[in-house]
């Protein structure tokens, strides 16, 4: 009698129990992680992502390596490739965008193509210089890196990333513009200007979460 009265649950409690039991399998589902092809387009939020970085890198590599500035320099310097230092790429958007990804892609293309020589940037060379100084004292003479043998850059690569946003209701448009410039360090002349534009249309579904 006592047991029977205990199991005679009220209607709300019974409903809650049923809902809980129904949700249990979902909780068991957990997280699903899979490796996917890095070149795959995976747009989730509509914000800047790896695809945008790749598109920018591809466009700037194509524009810079096929530009006349490389051959002009080589012609005036007996076939020597121009020396470039990577300066600052400013992110002037409201988003957090790691510009280093496409800048490194560009740098890698310069080096691998053999058409452009890249020298270490001001941040990178501090560590190298410290090591070289250390070698002067501690390394064997014939293995010591010599001082005063650094290559001076002829051009500096600079750039800026800007965005324009437009939003109305469930629709949003984001326009990104990346401008890259190579500036002659002696004359301040801009010898090459590259640009890539990306326009995204984002439409939120009416019943989404």
């Amino acid at each position: 009698m006592f047991i029977a009265s205990n199991f005679a649950l009220s209607r709300p409690i019974r409903l809650a129990l049923i809902a809980g039991l129904a949700a249990a399998p979902l909780a068991c589902g957990g997280k699903r992680v899979s490796r996917i092809e890095p070149t795959a387009v995976t747009d989730l939020s509509g914000r800047w992502n790896d695809t945008d970085s790749r598109l920018v890198a591809n466009a700037l590599i194509e524009q810079s390596l096929t530009g006349a500035w490389v051959s002009r320099y080589a012609a005036a310097h007996g076939g020597e490739p121009p020396r470039v230092i990577v300066g600052t790429f400013e992110n002037r958007t409201m988003e957090h965008i790691p510009v280093g990804t496409f800048v490194r892609d560009l740098e890698r293309a310069f080096v691998n193509s053999g058409m452009v020589r890249v020298v270490a940037s001001s941040d990178e060379r501090q560590e190298v210089r410290a090591e070289r100084q250390d070698q002067q004292e501690h390394a064997r003479a014939d293995t010591r890196a010599q001082l005063g043998q650094e290559l001076g850059a002829k051009y500096m690569l600079q750039g800026v990333l800007q965005a324009i946003e437009d939003e109305e209701g469930r629709e949003r448009v984001i326009f990104y513009q990346v401008d890259a410039t190579l500036v002659d360090l002696e004359t301040n002349e801009k010898v090459w200007v590259g640009q890539h534009e990306i326009k995204k249309y984002i439409e939120r579904s009416r019943f989404g979460w």
């Binding site: 070149t39 695809t51 790749r54 005036a76 310097h77 076939g79």
Partner: protein, 267 residues
Amino acid sequence: MKRGLLLLSLAALAACAPKRVHEEPILENGDRVPGAEGTVASVQGRAAVEREEAMAERDSLTAEALADCVPSVCAAIARGEVALGMDETQVLAATATTPDAWSIRQAGRAAVMVPAGWRARPHDAAGELAMVQFRDGRVSMVSYRDAQGVRVIDDAQDATTAGRADAMAERLIREGDEFAARGDLDRALDRYDRASVLRAGDPLLDYRIATVLDKQLRPIEALIRYRLFLHRLELEKIEAVGDAYAKLADAIAHARERVIILEKNGR
């Protein structure tokens, strides 16, 4: 009636709503964006061929240039400097360039080499070349583009370190004179100071510095400079030489006068 009003208001709302975008997407989820390896590989191949061709041309030019050079020209080629007396090939070897980098014009016994384009400017070890002039196939004049203008070398002495310093000092003095004429005494003094490092012991430079300091109402420094000017002239010698420094007579008289005045004011 009510239904009509409702339809009308719905139509008005629809008219106010923004126009929808109907553009075909160019990239969608699941598409692939390959890297730029293809571009890099094609450029790499082309660059290697071009570099090899340029190096082969440069090497043959250097070999030709060194085949019959006099020792001083051979040394200049090794240093990467254009020297007076070089021929066209030797200039190309000294600047590590090929004929593509230059525009070469000939007129009778004279010839001139200027950079082929304003964006590609050949250099030698001493600086950016503006023009190389030839007389009877040999370099007679070399012009460099420097911060203060064009530096011309038409004498072996001009090509030495002392000659170069003297030419730079000359241009700095000219620049200083222009600033002084415009009334920008700070900049004029700066140029004269820089020139005095390159051309030590020039009495006229001391006189210029003294005058500018005097105009800037810096009497103590001006007095020192006037005295230095007079001292450098070694007046006793000048009197003996007579007309040798006659052109400086006004400057000497002015300096003496200012020394007296400044000394009097200083007391």
